[in-house]
């Protein structure tokens, strides 16, 4: 806590008078956006119908564990709180280092007001909402972590979608033929590594432009899994494409916590692997020597080379390890969720993972938060269709993509990629 000293001496009511012009522009831009959202939230609250919004706290239980709230008063309260947070941000009423919390407060208030509006007079399955969020987010988190590893090492990975497809395909086939979930996950990881190997060899050895390469690898993976599906899996579906879906394992103790227990700790092994992966990637990247090297070759390969780091070798290892994660992420689509493989079943999730890693500013934790947000939006869309709200589901499905555009356009803070991301390293 070394950077606290200066800031803390400034009283909260009188913010530091000096602000760089660029910061001011940013504050007004971000603040403006926050105000817009706050006012939409308040507007929703005003138009909330009377009656009670009922939230279902245990999945599938329609009788007990219901939370009934008076819809309009709660929505108005949350809406007002959101406006307050936005105004406080624009007027700099809180110390700089806490201003990020205002955005979080606003976000929570906005979603809360929205849910009250949508659920007024109805029953909203809140437990399902969070359960589904985690389901949609799991492959996104794994894919985004794969992207973080690659791009921190300086290799752009647009091919996450392709790695997902190949991983999903391999997991389905291996699980069907061997009947072993462990074998399926290992095979999916290996297939992810093979796709990563293509990415690594062509980008690091043959210096192919990495955006080109990513696009082509996605097309390649679509073609090859589609071909094998048409040629083998369709003819012999009973033998090759009927994998057992991983069963949920309840963690004793943690799984009994009310509300969050069943959501977080009664999951499949793949979800637990995802929790571990987030922690491991964060630790490895920022606390180990290898992680330092990865970041060094991604930021300034020449300097890294000068101090004796083998740039290409580090890049190869980062890209291949990322392949393990992306392959596992692909496995989720078949053995973790849907069961059998269908053509192009990953449906653009690899690109959402890419978006999550950018929204998360190339940081594992940030990527996870962004992936959870995207999962939340996707799940909300299907929930709202069930309880029938006037909002078209397609517009909600756009949310992750629009949010990413807003993020990269610099409206919400600077988004900066590793400096040498995408640049092949060529020694003279």
């Amino acid at each position: 806590m070394s950077d606290v000293t200066v800031q803390d001496t400034v009283p909260a009511a009188a913010p530091a008078a000096i602000e760089a012009p660029a910061d001011r522009v940013r504050r007004l831009r971000v603040g403006g956006l926050m105000l817009v959202f706050a006012l939409i939230g308040l507007g929703l609250a005003i138009f909330t119908k009377g009656g009670e919004a009922t939230f279902q706290l245990v999945s599938g239980d329609l009788q007990n564990n219901l939370l009934g709230l008076p819809a309009q008063p709660v929505a108005l309260l949350l809406g007002a709180l959101g406006v307050l947070a936005a105004v406080a941000y624009v007027l700099r009423r809180v110390p700089q280092k806490y201003s990020g919390w205002l955005a979080i407060v606003l976000g929570v208030c906005f979603i809360g007001a929205f849910l009250c509006w949508a659920a007024a007079g109805k029953t909203f399955p809140l437990a399902n909402q969070f359960q589904g969020t985690l389901n949609f987010a799991t492959p996104l988190i794994l894919g985004a972590l794969a992207g973080v590893l690659c791009e921190r090492a300086g290799v752009i990975n647009i091919a996450i979608e392709g790695q997902f497809l190949v991983g999903a395909f391999t997991a389905a086939v291996v699980a069907s033929t061997t009947g072993s979930a462990v074998a399926a996950l290992i095979a999916a990881a290996v297939s992810g590594v093979l796709m990563a190997l293509l990415l690594a060899v062509f980008s690091i050895k043959y210096l192919v432009n990495q955006v080109v390469l990513g696009v082509v690898l996605v097309v390649f993976a679509t073609g090859i899994t589609g071909f094998l599906f048409d040629q083998f899996l369709q003819e012999d579906a009973a033998k090759l494409n009927t994998p057992d879906v991983l069963s949920a394992v309840k963690i004793p103790g943690l799984g009994d916590i009310p509300f969050i227990g069943p959501i977080l700790f009664n999951q499949t092994a793949l979800v637990y692997l995802t929790y571990i992966a987030v922690a491991v990637v964060t630790f490895v990247l920022f606390q180990t020597r290898w992680g330092l090297r990865v970041r060094a070759v991604g930021e300034h390969p020449k300097a890294a080379d000068t101090v004796g780091i083998r740039v290409k070798r580090v890049r190869y290892s980062a890209v291949l390890w990322a392949g393990v994660l992306a392959g596992l992420g692909g496995a989720f689509f078949t053995v973790g969720y849907a069961g059998s493989f269908t053509k192009e079943m990953t449906a653009g999730n690899g690109f959402i993972a890419l978006a999550a890693l950018i929204m998360g500013r190339w940081h594992p934790i940030g990527a996870m938060v962004a992936a959870l947000f995207f999962g939340f939006a996707t799940q909300l869309q299907s929930q709202l269709q069930i309880i029938q709200t006037p909002i078209p589901g397609e517009l909600l499905l756009m949310a992750p993509y629009l949010a990413t555009i807003i993020a990269v356009a610099g409206l919400v803070g600077r988004v900066r990629a590793p400096k040498a991301d995408g640049e092949p390293y060529v020694t003279e």
Binding site: I158, F202, V212, V218, V219, F227, F232, P392, V408, A417
Partner: protein
């Protein structure tokens, strides 16, 4: 005038004897050959007769080999006949090539300006939405209706592309990220529109619009599916050639593409170049959208773009960013698509094989060093630089 003037002889760069375009052509042909070999392996692996013969490979190895040869031969023969074996196949190939050429030009033009336009798919969809809407909702006299519908499509694509250029110029947002995201926004927008009463065909529950008016349809050649949109694609290619090579703004685009910093120093507006390139690229993709909805499909559906916008990227890469190359690459991929359908019908080889072929061709073309390490006789091309190797911050 005497020939022995004082002009110093121009220092010739060392070349391997062949001009750059010839070497690139050789690499492309080699890449196609290699891709066909990869495809052949897939056909052999998937062929029932080969798999039956392999079981007694030790006893009669020739059975396996001949089965393999006949499987590959039959499949590729069906592919070739389906692509160029007569008037109908050729017209089908050209029909398939039409949107690929326009989409490819959209990617190529941006490429030459130093931008990766991954967003042809979204731009195409927006073009198709507007062109389709004008096509079925408005009722105008012949010729005029078609022109208005096409212009609407161009505008739709131009807006979707222009936003990318504007965001890049104003905020530095990377075009690859923005275009990928806008693709999905466009797809969901289309899906949503097709559920509204404005777009959905009365009496239908599935996402399909009314059929566009006869006045707004591209006239067709005879009783083939080929339509006038193909000629427009060729016109578009000539226009892009003129724009890039003969116009002042085109010079600026290429200059910015070659070196944005130097162009800025020379007084050009890099931001303006980005916007212009993306507006024109978007319009070209929008043209591809009109060809789909006003020429091939006729009602607007959520599958209007198929995978044209993504295939367009591979077409542009194979065409190396030049208009002529893009036309040729578009024709090749169109022929592969049309032939692939026949191949699937006749020899039951899945159509997805052509997707593998296309990806493999581009992969090899993008890595000339790899192709050279396989075909040792290929000379090294000193004229060709690495294509635009730069990252998110570039």
């Amino acid at each position: 005038m005497s020939t022995a003037t004082a002009t110093p002889p121009v220092a010739k760069p060392e070349r391997s004897g062949l001009p750059s375009w010839a070497i690139q052509g050789l690499v492309s042909v080699s890449a196609i050959v290699l891709a066909l070999l990869v495809g052949a392996i897939l056909i052999i692996v998937g062929d029932d007769e080969v798999n039956a013969a392999v079981k007694y490979f030790g006893a009669a190895p020739m059975d396996t080999i001949s089965a393999a040869f006949s499987a590959v031969g039959e499949a590729y023969q069906a592919l070739a006949v389906g692509a160029i074996g007569g008037i109908t196949p050729i017209s089908e190939s050209l029909t398939q090539a039409t949107p690929l050429i326009c989409g490819g030009l959209a990617v190529s033009l941006a490429f030459r300006t130093g931008l990766f336009n991954i967003g042809a798919q979204g731009q195409l969809i927006m073009g198709a939405i507007l062109a389709g809407y004008v096509g079925f909702a408005w009722h105008l006299p012949p010729v005029l209706h078609l022109i208005v519908a096409i212009v609407a499509g161009l505008i739709g694509g131009a807006i979707w592309g222009g936003m990318v250029g504007l965001l890049k110029a104003r905020t530095g947002a990377h075009e690859v990220i923005v275009t990928i995201m806008l693709n999905y926004v466009a797809i969901y927008l289309l899906q949503w529109l097709l559920t509204t009463s404005t777009f959905q065909r009365p009496g239908r529950a599935d996402p399909i619009s009314p059929i566009v008016d006869a006045n707004a349809q591209y006239p067709q050649f005879g009783d083939t599916r080929l339509h006038v949109g193909f000629l427009l694609a060729l016109v578009a290619a000539v226009f892009v050639w003129w724009l890039l090579n003969k116009s002042t703004i085109g010079f600026e685009l290429r200059a910015v593409g070659a070196n944005a910093d130097a162009s800025k120093t020379a007084g050009m507006s890099v931001g303006r170049a980005y916007v212009v390139a993306m507006v024109v690229a978007g319009a070209l993709a929008g043209l591809a959208g009109t060809q789909q909805v006003l020429g091939t499909d006729l009602p607007l559906t959520d599958g209007v773009a198929a995978s044209v916008g993504f295939d367009a990227i591979t077409v542009a890469l194979l065409g190396r960013g030049t208009p002529l190359g893009t036309v040729l690459a578009g024709l090749l991929f169109g022929a592969l698509n049309a032939g692939g359908l026949q191949m699937q019908l006749i020899t039951q080889t899945p159509l997805t094989l052509t997707t593998v072929l296309q990806a493999t061709i581009v992969l090899f073309v993008a890595a000339p060093a790899l192709v050279r390490s396989i075909f040792r006789f290929l000379p090294k091309d000193r004229g060709a630089g690495a294509i635009l190797a730069k990252g998110w911050n570039g």
